[in-house]
């Protein structure tokens, strides 16, 4: 298995920094790039899935309860989901304020 980038030493890198495992980009935490994060108001959600369709990072997944839930490990906070949501169920909130 590959590991997070900060755990690699130069000696361990494969020759030419070749990636030996296909699809290891899912190890990259792109979620820490964002300042705004989407917050869903389930009462307004009509389960249309537009957030899922428009998300450029494919960060939305369908939950068992039938809601599309954002995976904040990948979400870069672009806000496209909030813009596209037809009922205004998604709002972008400063991550800092959440804490």
């Amino acid at each position: 298995m590959t590991k997070p980038e900060l755990e690699w030493t130069w000696k361990e890198l494969p020759i030419g920094t070749t990636m030996l495992e296909p699809g290891n980009s899912d190890q990259y935490r792109t979620g820490d790039w964002k300042t705004l994060k989407p917050v869903l108001n389930k009462e307004l959600c009509i389960h249309c899935g537009l957030c899922y369709i428009f998300c450029p990072d494919m960060s939305y997944n369908l939950s068992e309860a039938g809601y599309f839930i954002v995976d904040l490990f990948y979400c870069k906070g672009c806000g496209i989901c909030a813009k596209e949501c037809p009922t205004g169920a998604i709002t972008m909130v400063l991550e800092e304020e959440e804490k």
Partner: protein
């Protein structure tokens, strides 16, 4: 002993590439590299060399093709000059970082402007830091020999680096010289087929040339730096093995009548032979002058250089390129190399032979004369462009 024949150096270079049994040649024509690739395309067209010859639309593509082919494990060759190398420069950095053992001959030519098709080292100096092993050839035999040396070295599992062979444009590329051709049997023994450690193959998918974020990029560069530095013992070993096969021994720094010399001329490339003639003449006159020739430019042979310059009072360094606003790139390197020493020789730097201007043995004598006077007068780190009309 192989056959000794009179041959244009570019043709000899192409014959070497054929004997090295390359799989892929990718090139775009540019003076003065053309004879090398024209001859290779003939060899492929005539069925004398079983290789793919890619006629690409630019040098950027020429080396990009080599990246792809080398990544699949194919022995790959390209050749360029001047503006072509400048256009290719982006890919040169990628080839070394991906550790692909491509071999490239550069028929050295200056860079525009003004447009000039003739020889100097401006082109290769523009990619000085590209991470390839870089040899300079003094004559045609050096060029021919180093094709085999370059492939064996670059493809070594402990090296895996691309290699540049610098051949002075026209001064070497277009002259006919006696070349001792090596028997194919010997070449096949010296140069086994390339077996890559990692390669592009559908059975075992890998990604080459992916992204590295700030958290890991520095580690990749450290790995690359260590790789080229630690290629030095392999370079020496490869030259030794080649010497045992042919009787022609190469060294990172080669000297001529240098042991007891107070003044050392320092040259790189085809200047070496002309400067030897100048040294002979000055020795006849009883002057204490010798010659140091830099054959290996990257990795730079710091130790060999320090040893060779130990007894000299002054170095007269002849650069065939200029770092405008600083000095000659070779002189700059040598000054840095000597900084730590206690007994530093003075360095007088001439820029000579730009854009194909001839530098005759008498010119080397004049440069030594001038440098000795200047240094005696206290100008210990002089720099000038030689032979400029005032």
């Amino acid at each position: 002993m192989g056959k000794r024949v009179g041959m244009e150096v570019s043709i000899a270079a192409a014959e070497a590439v054929k004997q090295a049994n390359v799989d892929v040649i990718s090139a775009y024509p540019i003076t003065p590299q053309t004879h090398v690739v024209e001859h290779l395309s003939e060899l492929v067209a005539n069925g004398e060399l079983d290789a793919e010859f890619f006629c690409v639309e630019s040098e950027h593509s020429a080396l990009s093709v080599c990246l792809g082919s080398s990544a699949t494990g194919a022995r790959s060759f390209t050749c360029t000059s001047s503006q072509g190398l400048a256009l290719m420069s982006e890919i040169t950095y990628i080839a070394s970082a991906l550790r692909l053992p491509i071999v490239m001959i550069i028929a050295n030519r200056t860079l525009s402007a003004p447009i000039n098709i003739w020889n100097d080292h401006s082109d290769v100096m523009s990619i000085r830091d590209c991470g390839w092993v870089q040899f300079f050839a003094e004559n045609g035999q050096d060029v021919y020999d180093h094709v085999f040396i370059a492939y064996r070295l670059g493809e070594d599992r402990n090296v895996l680096l691309p290699v540049i062979i610098n051949m002075d444009g026209f001064t070497l590329s277009h002259v006919i010289e006696p070349i001792e051709l090596i028997d194919q049997e010997k070449i096949d023994q010296f140069l086994p087929p390339y077996k890559p450690v990692l390669s592009l193959h559908p059975d075992r998918p890998v990604t080459m040339g992916g992204i590295a974020l700030p958290g890991i990029f520095t580690e990749t560069k450290k790995a690359q730096e260590v790789a080229i530095r630690s290629s030095m013992p392999k370079i020496l070993e490869t030259w030794k093995a080649f010497g045992e096969m042919t009787g022609r021994y190469y060294h990172p720094i080669e000297t001529y009548k240098a042991e007891d010399a107070e003044t050392l001329l320092v040259t790189m490339g085809s200047f070496g032979e002309t400067a030897s003639a100048a040294v002979d003449k000055m020795r006849e006159e009883g002057r204490s002058v010798g010659l140091m020739k830099i054959r290996l430019w990257r990795p730079f042979p710091f130790d060999a250089f320090k040893t060779a310059s130990l007894n000299a009072k002054q170095l007269v360094v002849i650069d065939r390129a200029i770092s405008v606003g600083a000095c000659g790139p070779v002189a700059s390197e040598l000054k840095a190399a000597l900084y730590e020493g206690h007994q530093r020789p003075s360095i007088y730097n001439f820029i000579a032979g730009l854009g194909g201007r001839d530098v005759a043995p008498s010119d080397f004598v004049k440069m030594v004369d001038k440098a000795e006077i200047e240094i005696e007068e206290g100008n210990k780190e002089g720099f000038e462009i030689y032979g400029v009309r005032e």
